[in-house]
């Protein structure tokens, strides 16, 4: 076994060796290094062909048309382009946007920016399992609502929203529907011929492609218009200027192609490993699963170990790379807003650990993780005054704590 064990696949994934190998052919004089926009010579044509193939590979994973793919620098840029681009283009139709409290910061902060520009945004609550109540969603729509933005899979909990139903509601109300699919593409099937989704954000590095590249799907029928956020040479049909990074796009294309070919097999294996991990931990005292277990991607397990603080647990799990919703891991000293939106108490949010597994995780690693986690939770609980109180039957909520 190689240490530390990587269990943070939702933060980023290693580039698949097959992808990395191919990317190298698009950089040097021996390779295809031309500018895909150089339409006057063979160097440009070769690069353009490579980009065309990558566009096709990305489109195929999500059953879209290659002409609906706009390259970006990643899902954050895609979210910005989708939300601000739509808001700015359609502002005469209305200035109201609906989104959800558990969205990624790229969506929430884009909405905040629009609020500063005079738009109104409704941030919906989720149910305790992390899913949106469709009636609550429907009730939030107004005459002047132009856009709804709901993520497909949550980055912290791995919970899958029902974007098919939300899309139907949006289409029936003539509201543009944007979905951040950074955490779902390549992990669960996406069929944009069937889904009533107008815009969808993608990232390469969450599915074994390189960092620094992503895409925005922009529907052609019915046609969705955007105001560009990046101005320049008019690349990507004017929606996103900037010379295309051929090697990055080739990497993203390969990663999406491999995901399409191997998703089924990968998921089966991950489901088994995730089950093994949960089975190995769930019988411990005061352990809580955050988010729905069924409506969840196979690679995610987010657990709160009550009476143990998440950051100190991460420090104890030094042979493994995990993440936590604890305040201590963030600059703001606030515990995870996602877990709080699920209605989790602050102390449970502080006590959460996110294990995300992926293509290179092994059963041997999972067994080690179970053993180590059990041992370290036990050790930290022996150090915890709250655990003592719990064992003495004192309800910690009955005590008046001085917030600091």
């Amino acid at each position: 076994m190689k240490f530390p064990i990587y269990l943070d696949y939702s933060a980023t994934t290693p580039v698949d060796p097959r992808v990395a190998e191919n990317m190298c052919h698009y950089l040097t004089t021996d390779g295809i290094f031309g500018n895909p926009a150089s339409s006057s010579h063979a160097f440009g044509w070769a690069a353009e062909d490579a980009v065309k193939q990558a566009r096709q590979d990305v489109a195929e994973l999500i059953n879209a048309d290659a002409r609906e793919i706009v390259w970006t620098s990643g899902a954050t840029e895609s979210d910005n382009l989708a939300i601000k681009g739509v808001a700015h283009f359609y502002h005469k139709k209305g200035k109201h946007i609906v989104t959800v409290k558990t969205e990624h910061k790229a969506v929430l902060d884009s909405c905040r920016q629009l609020e500063r520009e005079g738009y109104e945004v409704t941030y919906l609550d989720v149910q305790p399992n992390g899913l949106i109540d469709l009636d609550v969603f429907r009730a939030a729509l107004r005459k002047d609502t132009i856009l709804a933005s709901v993520m497909h899979v949550n980055n912290e909990t791995g919970v899958i929203q029902d974007i098919a139903s939300i899309g139907e509601i949006c289409r029936n109300n003539k509201i543009i529907f944007h979905v951040d699919a950074a955490q779902s593409a390549g992990k669960i099937p996406i069929d944009l011929q069937a889904l009533k989704v107008d815009l969808m954000s993608f990232s390469a590095h969450k599915i074994y492609g390189p960092k620094g590249v992503g895409a925005l799907y922009v529907r052609r029928k019915p046609r969705i218009r955007l105001e560009a956020q990046m101005h320049g040479g008019g690349h990507e049909r004017g929606m996103r200027s900037g010379t295309l990074a051929t090697h990055q796009l080739v990497g993203m294309g390969d990663a999406f192609r491999i995901a399409r070919e191997e998703m089924g097999k990968d998921n089966e294996r991950l489901m088994e490993l995730r089950g093994r991990l949960w089975e190995g931990l769930k019988d411990m005292e005061e352990v809580y699963l955050n988010g729905d277990l069924e409506q969840r991607i196979s690679g995610n397990l987010n657990i709160s170990f009550n009476y143990v603080e998440g950051e100190s647990l991460m420090m104890a799990l030094k042979n493994m790379a995990v993440s936590s919703g604890s305040a201590c891991t963030s600059a703001s000293l606030e515990p995870s807003y996602v877990l709080r939106a699920l209605g989790r108490d602050d102390e449970l949010a502080h006590s959460s650990i996110r294990f995300t597994i992926g293509r290179f995780t092994t059963a041997e690693e999972i067994d080690y993780v179970i053993e180590m986690t059990r041992e370290q939770v036990r050790r930290l609980r022996d150090l915890s005054p709250l655990w003592d109180m719990y064992k003495d039957g004192i309800d910690i909520k009955s005590i008046e704590w001085a917030a600091h």
Partner: protein
């Protein structure tokens, strides 16, 4: 966040972990912090007839820096008079452990804990 060596040492080998009898007249208990804020410290001191801290114990729920701050504090207060212990400043703890600015509040909590423990002990003597 990368931790300093001393934080890791105290975190991995915490000194004086334990519990004293809260009701005992020679024991002072300080419990500070809040679960919702992610840290709770319980610091206990045992004081002899001449006002010297003979023993100290702690338990802490919190990040590595919080655990290290309370562990270090139990080492420091042993053998000190109440007056001397009262003088310990959070900045000394932060400096000794090389805490980064974002973790300074952990040392503040430790200072609060020893003061609370002393005050609990003193109120028992007055009773």
């Amino acid at each position: 966040m990368a931790y300093g060596e001393k934080v890791i040492d105290h975190y991995e080998h915490p000194r004086n972990v334990g519990v004293m009898d809260t009701k005992s007249s020679d024991v002072g208990t300080g419990m500070v912090g809040a679960p919702a804020c992610g840290d709770v410290m319980r610091l206990q001191i045992q004081v002899n007839d001449v006002g010297i801290i003979e023993d100290a114990k702690f338990k802490t729920y919190g990040c590595g820096s919080a655990i290290a701050s309370s562990s270090l504090l139990t080492e420091w207060v042993k053998g000190k008079t109440l007056e001397e212990a009262q003088e310990i400043k959070n900045t000394e703890i932060a400096e000794e452990l090389a805490l980064p600015p974002v973790k300074v509040h952990c040392s503040v909590l430790a200072e609060d804990a020893i003061r609370a423990a002393i005050s609990d002990y003193q109120s028992k003597q007055e009773a």
